[in-house]
Subunit: 303 residues, 2 copies
């Protein structure tokens, strides 16, 4: 009887609605020698709280798209990572932020780059997706929209400008909701001392961010120029679709064949349609956390 | 005897060094009803001259990277197409240009977006590739570099602002040189009335431009947002590599499965490592011209 089935919520039905989330706070030269233990504990506690909140929202039935935006906002607001409040400075001594978000259900995407007017570029990216006919808006145009839509401003006196030692890379989130939707979002302050207007892979769909229902959700971190030249995120997705690789194989081979072959370093996080969580990086460390369909929690920084 | 072989330059040796080039001036609602015959003849004569010059440079032994830059400069300078001198205006009534270039030998790339200071953004993109550690630079940062490197300025009084009827899309070039190198470049004024700072697929490696030796060189034109969401150029490359599709199959299937499934329109040009030239578009027309390894010339606008 269907009614009784629903009442008892059998394991088979739960398994049919897997949820999962993974986040990162950047890959780089993160080792026990470069990072004090107290900092690692503080950052990992923060990552854990973000993942637990995100997972809880997914359990409540929130959409993957909403959850990755919320998770990335928390990481932007933390000040610990190279994004939002914690963003590094460019060659002229000011912050320019990049971010993107992608809905795996529709492949709709929003992205912004070289933004100065808000500390939550991921939300600006989402609004670009929802309120304009465009995908990517940069510079003053993006700043004007942040003001028009009354986003929280980025005040320079508010930015801690955390030491580059622990502001490697970028932040990002990927999620699978109970309706089978995948989503991904990435946000960054870019490279320390970058040229004015330099844009990395974070706001580039297919390079630093990609999500497609039934396939995979990905967010990358690392030396962005190499990820752009490798079209890394979409190369992983293409290996799944066209070469029928497993997610772990696809990620490892994409890094070896595409990224490392030209000297690129960094990492990626992924969530699959089954609710698996994957982390990969070729740097000493990557701030990362995730919770998979079985409810298994992972929080780590080093190898 | 090797010496005699070289002296007579047998056909087999010539065939081992195929060259090819293809260019486009944008895809869109180009029909005998929307375009006066005189305009079509004028534009096609121009496309023919650009292709003949490019092919001649390849015969002389110039690199594919140099040739695609030169060809795109000609198209930017023409004023006939939506790029450089002919670029359309954004919502605020000024021009913002996007361009990219990619070297298939090294996968090195350069790109610029939302540029106002030069009418040859493809050259700025090449200099970003060669003189900085970055791939993509946007807005004022890109404008500063254009001035620093003394590129020809874009004077607003110089722009003909050709009617949107015949400024569909974008311009681009792809080439194979006699050393087996592939290269691609794309340049655009974007969409008429676009928001300030809007960036399309032209400067995005993997969306509007991609080149990789041994695989393919591609330049796209059309409604850029859909090409970004489809990661269209790299999807074609991935079908060649991972699904072992033929170039014609890969292009057709990428358009059907990835672009048309979400409502995208436009076109693409390609050159293969064997020196084949391919054109594909799902719009009424695409300004296009090419010359393949057999020396066959194609110049056309309509289907």
């Amino acid at each position: 009887m269907p009614f009784i089935k629903g009442l008892f919520t059998p394991l088979s039905l739960l398994m049919a609605q897997p949820i999962a989330v993974a986040i990162h706070g950047g890959a780089g030269n993160l080792t026990p020698h470069t990072l004090p233990t107290s900092k690692v504990q503080e950052h990992e506690a923060y990552l854990k709280s973000v993942v637990e909140e995100a997972y809880h929202l997914l359990e409540e039935g929130r959409l993957a798209l909403e959850v990755v935006e919320i998770a990335v906002r928390r990481l932007e607001d933390a000040g610990y990572f190279n994004a939002g409040r914690g963003a590094v400075l460019n060659e002229k001594g000011f912050v320019q932020l990049d971010a993107s978000i992608m809905d795996g259900k529709t492949r709709r995407s929003g992205a912004v780059a070289a933004v100065r007017a808000t500390g939550n570029p991921v939300t600006l990216a989402r609004l670009v997706m929802e309120r304009t006919n465009h995908v990517l808006i940069v510079g003053e145009g993006a700043d004007s929209l942040a003001k028009l839509w009354a986003l929280p401003p980025l005040r320079n006196d508010y930015i801690p400008h955390a030491s580059p030692v622990w502001t490697q890379g970028t932040v990002g989130a990927v999620a699978l909701d109970k309706y089978g939707n995948l989503a991904a979002a990435t946000s960054t302050g870019g490279i320390v001392g970058k040229k004015v207007g330099r844009v990395g892979d974070s706001p580039i769909i297919g390079a630093g961010t990609y999500a497609e229902n039934g396939l995979i959700a990905l967010s990358a971190t690392g030396h962005g120029e190499y990820f752009i030249r490798s079209v890394l995120a979409y190369d992983i997705a293409a290996r799944l679709r066209y070469a029928k690789a497993s997610p772990a194989q696809a990620i490892e081979e994409a890094f070896k064949d595409r990224l490392e072959s030209i000297g690129g370093t960094g990492g990626v996080i992924a969530v699959t349609p089954k609710g698996e969580v994957l982390f990969y990086f070729n740097t000493p460390g990557m701030y990362r956390a995730g919770k998979d369909a079985q409810g298994r929690l992972i929080v780590a920084t080093f190898r």
